[in-house]
């Protein structure tokens, strides 16, 4: 399953960090962050619960970039 979330982040490098953090979260198959469109595109593993997984993604992103936000 794929979903797209609007995000808020200040710099291109930070967006890159968010992408890596999201990719390394359990339950995520693949993720891309576009700094230009301020969107995070997420592909979930089969059977994963998007809401729960996205909470982890947000937590992981906050760890690498304090100022970021994902609008779930």
């Amino acid at each position: 399953m794929k979903k797209t979330y609007p995000i808020e982040v200040d710099c291109a490098n930070c967006a890159e960090k968010m992408e890596t953090a999201a990719k390394n979260t359990a339950g995520i198959k693949d993720a891309t962050v576009s700094f230009m469109t301020l969107k995070m595109k997420v592909e979930f593993d089969d059977g994963a619960d998007p809401d729960a997984v996205m909470k982890d993604v947000l937590a992981n992103c906050k760890k690498v970039e304090e100022d970021c936000e994902i609008f779930l």
């Binding site: 710099c11 890159e16 960090k17 891309t32 700094f35 469109t37 595109k41």
Partner: protein
């Protein structure tokens, strides 16, 4: 400006004012530690979040980023100042404050510039409908979210409103502005039974529309999704940048550390003054210069602006990677029908007629009045006027030959050469390519009408412009006959053509060219997207033309031209070249300035002032240059 940006601006201005006051009152400050404390005020006002992020990064094992670089560099500079003060020398904290100030100014500028171009680009693709006027069973109209409208509902679109969902007009006539979809500003007349697409703007009359798609299936949503996805398909250059940043910053930090430690050690070993603080200062300068911001932001920004600019012209490019490949195109392969030609039949000539053209078309259109064959339709279109079927009597179709009857009291026969032979009428042959309709009026020859697929007005210009844009070879593939193909190829000036091809032979032909082209050259295939999906997918770049409303074409192609003007192919290539040009300029410019400054900083010629000015200056120039990629309307 956003709220956070305004706050940043306020911080920068107040810190700058405090710094200025400190500069003026500098010599009245009694002790070095008071001076240090006073200078710390503007330093912390501008830079507290940089320090915080740097420490946060260290805590989370994400050490090397620009916050870290700036923190180490400025703290280093302050440390050098303190040590100078303790040794009774001239202490200077201004540099650290200035570096932080300028760095934050650069960051603010970048964030405003990116926000601005983000806005510009989304306004170019402003096709997202906000609401739909849904008509209920009792004819009352309610404003609803387009998401809630089911297929087959009736919606009302008033003049000035955006059509929210695809559908068929059930009532009303109007003109539509399709420029948001096609980039062309010529209005389109629509009437009952006309299929309209979401994202176009209703200009004049009220329309009642029966929807044929839900919101997700509507053209506007599909195009928006395509445009938004484009930014997540990253180009090789962007991939290079993120790899570059990953290795670059740690390498620079190690170099800076070496610069701070090794020379003093060598100097001390050789019995000279180690000048330890001089080398620490140089290492800090080195760190400031090394900040990779300019490159990291300007490359994706250039691509984003290029993609946005292209979509504003009705050219949808599905990703930065395709924009990159497009700039390398050296071979362009065209499908004929629907790409270089209109794909519809039109009357192209009238020969040997003793009557006025209008007179002859009148008989021809009336005798074909009942037929819906494409040939008959094209004759009716050429006649332009209403057809009065009461004038037509005794229609007799002669299968495979033509049609006979009386029109307005005259015996009319229209058909091919065989019909004329059967009627023993002396006819004249035609040398034109296309379908020939011979006409006889009251038993004598009345000339012939030539009907053929017409070449698009822009085809010839497109081929000429492609040549000028550095395309090595243009090739046309068609399933049509040799004679027709030769005619089209000669008229538009195509280099090579292959006629009478079956669909799989088209694939083989393209594969052949793909095999022979040099590495680094790309092949683009342009077709109308109908039944050429296999060729679209094996080409380096598949371009679908006139794809408005054709899902299959939008799916299969890498570049989608919303209207069917072949000149748009040239435009797409020009946009890609401009964009990639900007990307390369920025890469070379910013990296070379950095390298020069790094060397100057290491040997002590460039101080921290030059370092930060080089960093911010390069970034501002690179961002401004990147935004240029947006302006492609007149390419």
């Amino acid at each position: 400006m956003k709220k956070s940006q305004k706050k940043m601006l306020l911080r920068i201005i107040s810190a700058a004012v405090i710094t200025l006051i400190l500069l003026i009152t500098d010599r009245f400050i009694p002790a070095w530690y008071i001076k240090l404390l006073l200078y710390m005020i503007p330093y912390l006002i501008t830079g507290y979040d940089v320090l915080k992020k740097a420490f946060h990064g260290i805590r989370n094992k994400q050490v090397f980023d620009e916050n870290f670089l700036m923190t180490v560099a400025t703290l280093g500079a302050i440390a050098v100042g303190i040590s100078n003060a303790l040794n009774g020398g001239d202490d200077d904290y201004l540099e650290a404050v200035a570096v932080m100030l300028l760095y934050q100014t650069g960051e603010l500028f970048q964030s405003v510039a990116v926000g601005k171009s983000r806005k510009n680009i989304s306004s170019l693709m402003d096709i997202r409908p906000d609401y739909a006027n849904l008509e209920g069973e009792d004819k009352t109209v309610t404003k609803v979210d387009p998401d809630e409208v089911e297929i087959g509902s009736i919606i009302v679109v008033n003049p000035g409103e955006k059509i929210p969902l695809d559908g068929i007009i059930r009532e009303g006539t109007s003109t539509l502005n399709t420029s948001a979809l096609t980039g062309e500003s010529i209005p389109v007349d629509v009437f009952e039974g006309y299929e309209v697409l979401s994202g176009t703007i209703n200009l004049s009359g009220v329309l009642r529309i029966e929807t044929t798609a839900d919101f997700d299936g509507s053209t506007a949503s599909k195009i928006l999704e395509l445009v938004e996805n484009a930014a997540s398909r990253k180009s090789k250059s962007e991939g290079f940048i993120s790899k570059f940043a990953r290795y670059y910053t740690p390498i620079v930090c190690i170099c800076a550390l070496a610069l701070a430690l090794l020379p003093p050690v060598f100097l001390a070993l050789s019995g000279k003054d180690p000048m330890i603080f001089t080398w620490i200062y140089r290492a800090c300068t080195f760190l400031v210069i090394s900040c990779p911001c300019a490159v990291v932001i300007s490359i994706p920004l250039s691509f984003f602006a290029g993609l946005g600019g292209a979509s504003g012209c009705g050219i949808l490019i599905k990703g930065s990677n395709f924009l990159e490949t497009l700039s390398k195109v050296k071979y362009v392969v065209f499908d004929k029908t629907g790409t270089l030609t209109h794909g519809t039949f039109e009357v192209t000539a009238l020969h040997h007629s003793p009557l006025a053209a209008e007179e002859l078309f009148k008989y021809a259109a009336h005798i074909e009045g009942h037929s819906s064959h494409p040939i008959a339709l094209s004759i009716k279109k050429a006649y332009k006027k209403e057809i009065d079927l009461n004038l037509v009597k005794d229609i007799k179709e002669i299968s495979g030959k033509g049609i006979m009857g009386t029109v307005d009291g005259h015996a009319v026969a229209a058909g091919n050469a065989a019909l004329m032979q059967e009627l023993k009428i002396d006819y004249k042959d035609c040398h034109h390519t296309g379908t020939i309709i011979h006409m006889a009026l009251d038993g004598s020859y009345a000339g012939h009408i030539v009907i053929s697929d017409t070449i698009k007005a822009g085809s010839k210009d497109a081929i000429t412009a492609l040549k000028r844009a550095g395309i090595k070879k243009t090739i046309m593939l068609t399933g049509d006959s040799e004679k027709v193909a030769e005619n089209v190829a000669k008229t538009v000036g195509i280099d090579e053509y292959h006629a009478a091809l079956l669909p799989d032979e088209k694939v083989q032909n393209v594969e052949q060219i793909l095999k022979t082209k040099a590495p680094g050259e790309a092949l683009a295939f342009a077709g109308d997207g109908i039944n050429d999906a296999p060729v679209l997918s094996i080409s380096d770049i598949g371009i679908a033309m006139g794809a408005l409303g054709s899902d299959a074409a939008i799916e299969a192609a890498d570049v989608v031209l919303m209207d069917d003007d072949p000149k748009k192919i040239v435009k797409a290539i020009r946009i890609s070249k401009k964009c990639l040009g900007i990307v390369h300029q920025n890469l070379i410019f910013s990296i070379s300035v950095k390298v020069i400054c790094l060397i100057l900083g290491a040997v002590g010629i460039a101080n921290m002032w030059i370092a930060i000015l080089a960093d911010v200056g390069v970034m501002i120039l690179a961002v401004l240059n990147a935004i240029r990629a947006l302006f492609v309307k007149n390419l």
